[in-house]
């Protein structure tokens, strides 16, 4: 069937659960990416969506790699393309939060350290959903998972700060509920060179215990309640907040999700306090870095991409 909304980037018939936030996220990213691209997928729900052999849902050439090596695989493909003199093809890696925050962190850090030339999209659904909801270092405090039945006891790892510490040219958070913002960020990343990182919150209806139609709604709530603010970091230094949220109470976000159904009033208060603190800090960082660096990009003296061997 003809669909003017997505042109040959993701095919129907993939095996994601009904209402999957990952699929919405991948579709939006691929739409902004366009057809001149190579995509790397690693074990995660993204690999399920990409399809079982001999079928694939992706409309661009893609490569299934191992769990922890999304970043170096993308770096390798990027280098190979350059070696062949092809410079107009973007290489993009999809990895889950497990493959980014936990297992793939070392490989990602290495690639980002060398400022390899690719876009890395972390599809964050805040647990190992593909294997049946086990806790990851991306799981938020108090959230139920199969391995944290009484609620997670640790705060979510601050991956954006880790990536910023690598001083990569571009890092941004994005949400599936803000498709225009997400597409603009992918398009902006496409115009840059070096390691570009997009942290995309993509709810898992099954693992978050929400109804199949609630992924966009819950994503929206995560932004509007400041749990997941939308911002960019340029050159690892200059912060820019992209959306001024309505600052709804975090309870609105927590109450709609079954994974927080056991949460106590004191715990909600604690989440609210932490969210307010993080937001205040983010705003302060934005103000401070703007004062320090202005609106012009910060010049970093390093060459991007793999050098000629």
């Amino acid at each position: 069937m003809n669909n003017n909304n997505t042109i040959d980037v993701l095919d129907a018939g993939h095996a994601a659960c009904p209402g999957c936030g990952y699929a919405i996220g991948m579709k939006t990213v691929l739409k902004a990416l366009g057809s001149k691209a190579v995509v790397v997928v690693v074990p995660s729900c993204a690999a399920i969506i990409a399809g079982p052999f001999p079928n694939t849902s992706l409309g661009v050439p893609s490569f299934h790699s191992a769990f922890e090596i999304a970043a170096p695989t993308a770096a390798g493909i990027s280098a190979a393309l350059k070696r062949q003199g092809i410079s107009d093809v973007t290489v993009l890696a999809f990895a889950g939060d497990g493959g980014t925050f936990d297992i793939g962190l070392q490989a990602l850090s290495g690639a980002a350290d060398r400022n390899e030339d690719f876009i890395y999209v972390c599809l964050d659904n805040e647990a190992y959903m593909n294997t049946g909801v086990q806790v990851s270092s991306s799981t938020p405090m108090y959230s139920w998972t199969g391995t944290s039945p009484n609620g997670n006891t640790k705060n979510k790892k601050q991956i954006m700060e880790i990536m910023a510490a690598h001083r990569i040219p571009y890092a941004a958070t994005a949400s599936i509920a803000f498709p225009e913002d997400l597409m603009a960020k992918v398009e902006k990343a496409k115009t840059m060179r070096g390691t570009r990182f997009i942290h995309l919150l993509a709810p898992c209806n099954t693992g978050w215990k929400i109804a199949p139609d609630e992924a966009p709604l819950v994503s929206r709530l995560s932004v509007e309640s400041n749990i997941f603010p939308l911002y960019e970091i340029f050159d690892g230094l200059r912060y820019e907040i992209n959306y001024q949220p309505k600052r709804l109470p975090v309870e609105n976000y927590l109450a709609v999700q079954g994974r927080f159904s056991h949460i106590l009033p004191d715990q909600i208060k604690a989440v609210q306090t932490e969210t307010d603190r993080a937001w205040a800090e983010l705003c302060a960082r934005e103000a401070r870095t703007r004062q320090l660096y202005g609106d012009t990009p910060v010049a970093i003296d390093c060459e991007s991409g793999t050098k000629e061997i």
């Binding site: 997505t6 993701l10 129907a12 993939h14 849902s57 139609d213």
Partner: protein
């Protein structure tokens, strides 16, 4: 080093070359999104069923001509309604639960102020079936307009020298400038309508009209004052409200005098404000909360109070005279039960109750009834109106009634709505195409859309208007409505210039942009954007979105994201 020496990758790794579209994931569910455009809550509240959502979207895109055309589909008087309508629509606006309703009436006015459009002919099936319309008030004009759009040659008879009826004579210029009314009337007269002014129809005249025309519509309105039935009503200085509004020589008599207006509706408020503009020393309104109609909208009450008019709830019991002239009114106190019975927020009393109200002039505006003429007395009446059914049909075949003369609500927009229903009923009867669906549409439902009547396919159900979902309020930011410019109270009481101004086109565009466009698909594509299964499609050239039944998993993300309530989940057919 050259690359062709490498192995063909296909020999060492498997490569997927077919698409996943081969997998029929549609079999996972029998629930599918159903696309159905609906009435918006505001359209349902609008007696003439204006396609408000569509007009709003056009104005938000800066298309004032298109918006005016959308209003003209259902209503011939957008300039008039944009100023004097009681805007039921706004009280039903889904935005009320979020911040504040969209100022729909102001937008209708903007469409009329900034846009140009011509009436559209619906059919020419009525070409050889002439119809006469008696009376050119809102009901008569609306009926003539819709009859002419359906092809009927219309004779529009008017007793006075000008068209417009109550709109021309009963609504003062500070609310409805004459040139606005004339502009709307000129547009109506571009259709095949023959206006005959200075023509009074009596009983014999009606018989002649019934012979020479296939049908006659009576829209004469109610022009005779209702009496209060209390002692002293024949004293000098007691003037019926409509007489006061019609005659400028009577108006001039109130200069420097103390005026009391009795009644609570539009005529009472208008009469009091006209008295103020004619230099009355003081003007008070005595209204009986349990009996009197309330004014159509709070705005008017506020404006009157700003101009220094007092509103006092009380019950006149007797007019007391001195040498045959009115000098005071004796009242009894209002019982609490009566007061709480029928009360709107701003109709709070603003002075203490007294038993005796001294005055020089009393204007009674407690309602009107049919004029006792040979035309009316030959027809069956009940409660001071001509007996008719919902479609305006009287006991006599070929004779219809609309507006205040019939048993319909007495507001401008309700009169127009009854004129439209009667026009469609006449058309269907004369062309012999009255069927069950049409009868159901005409007789039931809270509102009646002529465009639905003439469109093919399923008709919208006005009892099932578009609902708003959780996502709408979450995505909408809270905004304040645009304010219309208003002349200061002390300045406006000096003359008859229009009190409330219109919006600039930019402001109107911003105001219309606040609309959720409930029930009307505007092609925002959110359903397709949020479809994880890439199965939401819009066939080229069509407005409807449809889910691909072979791949849609029935998750409902599309319907949850449909801010307009057009998509809802339902069982697969």
């Amino acid at each position: 080093m050259s690359y062709h020496k490498f192995l063909d990758p296909e020999l060492i790794i498997p490569i997927s070359r077919s698409s996943t579209t081969a997998f029929r994931t549609g079999s996972w569910s029998r629930i599918r999104p159903v696309f159905e455009e609906k009435f918006s809550p505001c359209s349902v509240a609008c007696p003439t069923a204006n396609n408000i959502a569509s007009a709003m979207f056009k104005i938000s895109q800066g298309d004032f001509d298109g918006a005016l055309a959308a209003f003209l589909e259902e209503s011939p008087l957008p300039g008039v309604c944009g100023r004097v309508c009681n805007h039921n629509c706004q009280s039903k606006c889904n935005r009320n639960d979020h911040d504040s309703s969209v100022r729909i009436r102001t937008i209708e006015r903007s469409a009329s102020d900034h846009g140009t459009a011509k009436p559209v002919q619906l059919t020419d099936a009525g070409k050889k079936l002439p119809v006469a319309v008696i009376g050119s008030g809102p009901a008569g004009l609306a009926a003539a307009y819709h009859l002419a759009r359906m092809g009927h040659p219309v004779s529009l008879l008017e007793a006075s020298e000008r068209l417009g009826g109550l709109l021309a004579m009963g609504i003062p210029g500070y609310r409805l400038p004459k040139k606005v009314l004339n502009h709307d009337i000129e547009r109506i007269l571009t259709l095949d309508i023959k206006p005959i002014t200075n023509h009074t129809v009596d009983h014999e005249g009606l018989e002649k009209l019934l012979d020479s025309h296939k049908a006659v519509l009576l829209a004469t309105g109610t022009w005779a004052p209702t009496t209060m039935g209390i002692p002293g009503e024949d004293l000098k200085g007691i003037i019926p409200g409509l007489d006061f509004l019609l005659d400028s020589s009577i108006q001039a008599q109130v200069k420097g005098r103390n005026v009391i207006v009795i009644g609570g509706g539009n005529t009472a408020i208008d009469a009091s404000r006209v008295a103020m503009r004619n230099g009355a020393a003081t003007v008070s309104i005595l209204y009986r909360p349990d009996l009197d109609a309330l004014p159509d909208s709070d705005d008017e009450v506020c404006e009157a109070e700003e101009e220094g008019i007092l509103r006092i709830p009380s019950h006149p019991m007797e007019f007391i005279g001195e040498k045959g002239e009115i000098c005071s009114i004796r009242c009894r106190e209002i019982v609490q039960a009566e007061y709480s019975n029928n009360c709107i927020s701003s109709s709070k009393p603003n002075i203490e109750f007294k038993e005796l109200f001294p005055c020089d002039v009393v204007i009674t505006a407690i309602g009107q009834t049919l004029v006792a003429s040979s035309l009316h007395s030959s027809l069956q009446q009940e409660y001071g109106r001509i007996v008719a059914d919902r479609q305006g049909r009287t006991a006599r075949k070929g004779l219809y009634v609309a507006g205040d003369a019939g048993p319909f609500q007495a507001t401008v927009v309700d009169a127009m709505a009854s004129g439209k229903r009667a026009a469609v009923s006449i058309h269907l009867e004369l062309t012999g195409s009255m069927d069950e669906t049409s009868t159901a549409l005409l007789d039931s439902g809270r509102t009646f859309s002529i465009m639905d009547m003439f469109k093919t396919g399923p008709k919208r159900n006005s009892d099932a208007s578009a609902k708003i979902n959780r996502y709408s309020y979450l995505t909408a930011s809270e905004t304040t409505p645009q304010c219309s410019p208003t002349i200061a109270a002390d300045e406006r009481v000096c003359g008859f210039q229009e009190v409330v101004g219109g919006l600039e086109s930019k402001e109107a565009t911003a105001e219309a942009g606040r609309c959720f466009y409930c029930g009307s698909c505007i092609g925002c594509d959110l359903c397709a954007t949020f479809c994880p299964d890439v199965s939401m499609c819009q066939e080229s050239g069509k407005t409807a979105y449809e889910a691909d039944p072979e791949h849609c998993k029935g998750c409902g993300a599309c319907a949850a994201a449909c801010v307009r309530g057009v998509l809802e989940m339902g069982e697969e057919q």
